[in-house]
Symmetry: none
């Protein structure tokens, strides 16, 4: 790929990330092109549809998340590693309306889940979760599906409490305490579908 093309591709991706984050996925492609400093045609040259652009952004983020999870796979304290990663993911989501909007589309979610980057990320996250459970830092009755659902939910809760950092922190603390809470009922089993 030519140098200028690559530069523009990155520019568009970054602009889209900013615009989607600020205004949600219903923001116009025109605005993205404007911010990126390119013509509208350039946006569509790199991404054949608005949906493809959105998918590229999310895949990129999922890939980074997967990389982060993998880099933590051998950490000495998997509990600290997992909760730190959880916190970071929530922090990121708060400033990105993108995920809230995009993840609301079930078709989207499953498509990303089936992608290679998505599967690798889930796998890495699952491995980290298992190690944290073995270390006694996370209850045993949940799987990676529940973990991700909790990340999504905690992100949404934090977004709701925008502007009140203390409340955000306490909300996240509740979730973390629930995750640590040993499972005494022992009647339910984790069962990822």
């Amino acid at each position: 790929m030519r140098a200028d093309a690559l530069r523009n591709r990155v520019r568009v991706l970054e602009a889209a990330e900013v615009v989607f984050a600020a205004k949600g996925v219903s923001a116009s492609t025109e605005e993205i092109a404007l911010l990126a400093g390119v013509g509208i045609g350039t946006v569509f040259r790199h991404f054949p549809s608005k949906e493809a652009l959105l998918e590229a952004i999310l895949l990129d983020r999922v890939a980074k998340l997967g990389a982060m999870a993998r880099s933590l796979a051998t950490s000495l304290d998997p509990g600290v590693a997992l909760y730190g990663l959880f916190t970071r993911m929530v922090d990121q989501a708060v400033t990105k309306k993108t995920y809230v909007d995009a993840l609301a589309d079930a078709g989207f979610v499953s498509r990303i889940g089936r992608s290679q980057a998505g599967q690798e990320a889930v796998q890495a996250l699952g491995a980290l979760l298992v190690r944290a459970q073995q270390a006694g830092a996370v209850r045993d009755d949940i799987g990676v599906t529940e973990l991700i659902a909790l990340v999504v939910g905690a992100s949404r809760a934090a977004e709701y409490a925008t502007g009140n950092r203390a409340a955000q922190a306490r909300t996240l603390q509740v979730v973390f305490d629930g995750l640590r809470h040993p499972d005494r009922s022992s009647g339910s089993e984790a069962n990822d579908s």
Copy 2:
């Protein structure tokens, strides 16, 4: 207001609730009018804009929530009452795309929060929370703001896990366990802004 006008108002409101719940707030007003069995002009006569219609729906729902919370104010077991209400709210939200969409708009949220119905609902919920805390069913370091944020977040988590009832249940259980049992290490205090 004439009797038929009032009837139409109610019809529109109900139709809008159904349509928004099914297709999200981006559904067209035309579709709402169709389901309500009135002309599009009638919709706009009763609600000056689509946004006003959405706000009316949410206010209505918040009012009902407030009423429910008030009716539980004197229940013998405030813990059971609060967790039951929490569960019901999450269940509702899962089938109603409306809240997910609408609550994403911060301006909306604060406007509803400032409304009389909103303030009454918050107050009733807060009262129930305090009673549950006094009964030892909920940790002491959270306030009504955190409670609502957790409802919103748990709803989002449940929506994410659509189709996997077991995962939804386990996710909610984590939040409930976190609400019940604070870690001793945590020294933070409730501080609603």
Copy 3:
């Protein structure tokens, strides 16, 4: 349907006919709206897509053609009637680029052929053809398919010779003479599919 709506529908249809005739079917809907004196939205209210508008025009014309053929069904001299109708159809087509363009789309043609108006028109034309053949005015070895193909072709030939009326007349004369020409070879049979 309301009076004003009907009036606008007719206006749009007439404007579309003019514009398509002048510039071909690739003319813009915007231009049609402009000529009709209505907003672009009105065009799409009456016809949900550009294709639907085009189809409406052609169906209207086919229906008129069918009516003409039926009104000639009992004429005393079916030969004169058929050649007269043939001539009129060619005359119309010359000023209407629409047909040339539209008929080039096979999907379109078959859709119109399957419509009620289309089938009625074909039937009426076929009846007139048979009567003309029985009267000895048209050779026996062709069917309605060949007749229509010849109308289309003669229209195209006339369009090619635009501006040269004498050549148009002689070209049409050749086709007519070929149609009258008795079939001596007698080895081929009409076989409409």
Copy 4:
């Protein structure tokens, strides 16, 4: 001109012929470049506009047609030669949407008619026609203008009857019979403008 440049020019021309034939003149230039195996810039270097490319194709074809007509000028049976050429032209046109589309533009037609290749082709075709008339194979009251119009029209008729070879054959037969045998009643004379 450099050897590679010439090779590219030919490649583009051939690709354009194929693409236009298959998809009509509204096919994109990008697709042509792709099939030709060159960059889009190369297409525009050789032909300043899409229209110029189309014109080049048609001129090329007209030139070949002229050459064919000239090669038949001295054939022993000019009638057989003319009807054979006519048939071949129709056969070609059926598989080439190009002509149908392109010839619909009057400006195009006259420009090609005024070109050297065009005039030579018309002249050669005219000479063949005259010889066929002298041999008694074609009626006397038509000129080369009518002949070409009939080729165009017969091509269109054949295209309309796509998929029904028998109908195509009978339709062409009608035209040929008309060309051979004038009705005695007709007193019109050939008069090319």
